[in-house]
Symmetry: C2
Subunit: 463 residues, 2 copies
């Protein structure tokens, strides 16, 4: 029997092979285009995933797992012919237990849907990438997603207690579990986080959840110098305040938001800094005042504070939509927005921001800068006409250089978007620059023993 017949024996009507059905899987949120899959299969339980994987393993069939398809580095598209294993059918929140700080969920659950459910109990799941409406639990685990609130709460890795996983050969394994701590052998849960679907198929996740903060407040400040935006974070941290979010936007981003939302920004402002703090009802105003005063010392063009949830939510939503908003400003059909994603220690932000901005000018590129600077994360959104080779050469050079800037300042070439197809060379360069190339070799060896035939998300991260 041929492979597709065998696959249909397992998954019946949940196997899709017509071109029309498969076209959506040619792309993810990155600017890459993948290979058309041989088939898309949408299993509904772990046993079925196991049988599919065994079949693929026996047939050396490449498998790319699909969550929300919101990868920005090409993680969820196909590098070569193979099947897409979509986890769209794994969309149940199985259990919420606030008394245990625990949610047990299937990987296809969307982050916003999870947080809507948790909010009813006064709890939340902190990781909040800008794509949270589309991004799934499984996908966000696979890239160790950060997002806006990681400044205070850390990235996804801090919130994963355990995983049920189907390995390349169909073996079903459990890592970690329902408890808040354990010290029982190597932390294979952590190894899965950020592995971009190259080590196994997550079929269940045990998430740590946390009480919603009691009150929130925001300081917004406009600056004309990018270094001062960068300075703000370490100054605030030095006085012992950990903002829940600390975001910045440059003028290009503000302009694009003005054209896609009802927000208005002062004409003379070049950079906007937003800092949210959380506290109790009794303390929020005092804390907000401390932040206001500290940021005022940096001489912003203007500064304001608010606790109005409507005002805060509107800007939060706009910030989450900044990338989409930039996409709408493209001038030609072949123009894309390539998104760089680097991270540095907070104290190096002034230098990093200034150097990166300058590099953009040097390469003659239109680059919109924003980022989760609370944890040192800078996003560089590069308008790039993929049809023009000479422009793409500049884009590639710029990406390489900002990666080097980050590494030279003690940072990394990828903060939260992963490596995917896009950053394989950058990843090598990072460890070469750090004189630790063997780190990559170790990753390769681990990949080899866990997925010996290399069928899982072929062509990503390491190869």
């Amino acid at each position: 029997m041929d492979f597709l017949e065998e696959l249909k024996k397992i998954s019946g009507n949940n196997v899709f092979t017509s071109k029309e059905d498969m076209i959506p899987y040619l792309n993810d949120a990155s600017y890459f285009e993948g290979v058309l899959p041989l088939a898309v299969v949408v299993p509904v339980d772990t046993q079925e995933v196991s049988r599919i994987m065994k079949l693929c393993y026996d047939n050396n069939m490449p498998v790319t797992v699909r969550g929300g398809g919101s990868s920005l580095t090409g993680s969820s598209i196909l590098s070569e012919k193979g099947i897409v294993l979509s986890l769209a059918g794994f969309d149940r929140i199985e259990e919420i237990s606030t008394g245990d700080n625990l949610a047990v969920v299937q990987p296809g659950v969307r982050l916003d849907a999870l947080n809507q459910a948790l909010a009813r109990s006064g709890y939340f799941y902190p990781p909040d990438p800008a794509s949270s409406m589309a991004a799934t639990v499984g996908g966000s685990i696979s890239t160790n997603a950060g997002g806006l609130r990681a400044s205070l709460y850390g990235t996804t890795k801090n919130w994963i207690l355990g995983l049920d996983v189907v390995l390349a050969d169909g073996n079903i394994v459990k890592f970690g579990g329902r408890t808040l701590k354990r010290s029982s052998g190597y932390d294979l849960t952590a190894l899965m986080v950020g592995s971009e679907g190259t080590l196994g198929v997550i079929t269940r996740a045990y998430l740590k959840i946390w009480p919603l903060p009691e009150e929130k407040g925001r300081v917004s400040a406009y600056f004309s110098e990018i270094e001062k935006v960068g300075q703000s974070i370490s100054e605030i941290k030095k006085i012992g305040i950990m903002p829940m979010i600390a975001e910045f936007l440059d003028r290009i981003t503000m302009d694009s938001l003005e054209s896609t939302t009802s927000l208005k920004f002062p004409k003379d402002a070049k950079y906007l800094l937003i800092m949210d703090v959380t506290s109790t009802a009794q303390s929020i105003d005092i804390m907000l005042e401390s932040v206001y005063r500290k940021i005022s010392e940096l001489n912003p063009i203007s500064i304001s504070k608010t606790r109005d949830p409507k005002v805060m939510d509107e800007m939060y939503a706009a910030r989450k939509g900044a990338y989409s908003s930039l996409l709408k400003q493209r001038e030609t059909s072949t123009q894309k927005v390539v998104i760089g994603d680097v991270v540095v220690p907070a104290s190096k932000l002034p230098e990093a921001l200034k150097s990166i901005e300058k590099k953009g000018y040097d390469h003659g590129l239109k680059v919109a800068l924003f980022g989760h600077i609370g944890d040192g994360n800078i996003h560089c959104n590069i308008y790039a006409d993929v049809a023009k080779q000479e422009i793409m050469k500049e884009v590639d050079a710029f990406q390489m250089e900002i990666g080097e800037i980050a590494v030279n300042l003690g940072g990394s070439v990828s903060a939260e978007h992963g490596i995917g197809i896009e950053k394989k060379e950058l990843l090598s360069r990072e460890f070469r620059m750090r004189n630790s190339e063997y780190t990559i070799e170790m990753m390769k060896q681990i990949k080899k023993i866990i997925d010996p035939k290399g069928i899982l998300n072929r062509g990503k991260i390491l190869e």
Copy 2:
């Protein structure tokens, strides 16, 4: 040239081979006795560690890394002839940067020394195992130490940003680094955390640090039923309060503390619950009152609250000294205190505590119970005469049964002490019970590729 001569060529006077010098390394804080080392070497820099490891690798020489020697599962003693690589010379705090939430430290730094240094800037490193006076950064990373404050702050794994590591063959590698986030390939930093010295020698750690809480307050309550102690945690979490510490002690532990400290406990109290909360100056009393009221609903024998730092510190120190205090109550020279360390989801604590207490009676053992129940962690301190085979049989059976109780309730056989020599069979049983034996097989394969000759901490965790 023979091995010892070569070793002396590398480390000169820092190689110790006399029996008197090596006797301290026969034991750690567990009840196990190890093999006398061939030599103890105390290198002072990473290059020296690399040369030592290369020599050992070439000679198939087992190496056990030594930190503070406070392991409770035999992790730091020798299962067979080999050398001890002591990191006592790696005792420098290299850098503290509050603006970056970062401390860069050598692995031999004691946790208390680190926190004394950080306190001067209003910051701290949250992991706080009871042995923090002796325990080192390296050792606590190696067991993914939890401790008293893990209830709020999570275990060590949440606080490690990066590691410099010397591998078995002498290769020097870097994992992670100075930034708060990254998504750059497999998380080898996380793989090292909890690996008990079996995968590499940590020579530098990049730690995340955090502002000290503004104010603290404590509710103490005495109970006559152990289930109610267990109930307290999930009840408090359900109302959205995350205590910084939540500890309990049973009567045996209270009695032992009465004889070793100036503390006095009510005569009729069987169990003591201590819950510390943190907040701002404006909110601490309100939060403390919420905890007080919620715990009062469980009808304790008596309940009190305090914000007096002296009173709080005295009890905190006593709790940290509870194990030592129990050790002083031993009746014969061959009697030891074997310490069980299991974890369950908070909502299962009532059932777990009751079952475990009953098992102790059933086996005719004197068992003192205490634990970090804020994160579901129960410690069972078993008075065990290692010279009496029939008693040790009961101890082993008890340990196995409490492990099974924990796993059946969704927990684990080891919360924070690791596996070491003691829990290898329990670790297997956990994954057998969970129908995931292949998880252990994966750990073995990872060990094999990273330390192919198996020279690092031989006989621990998996073999």
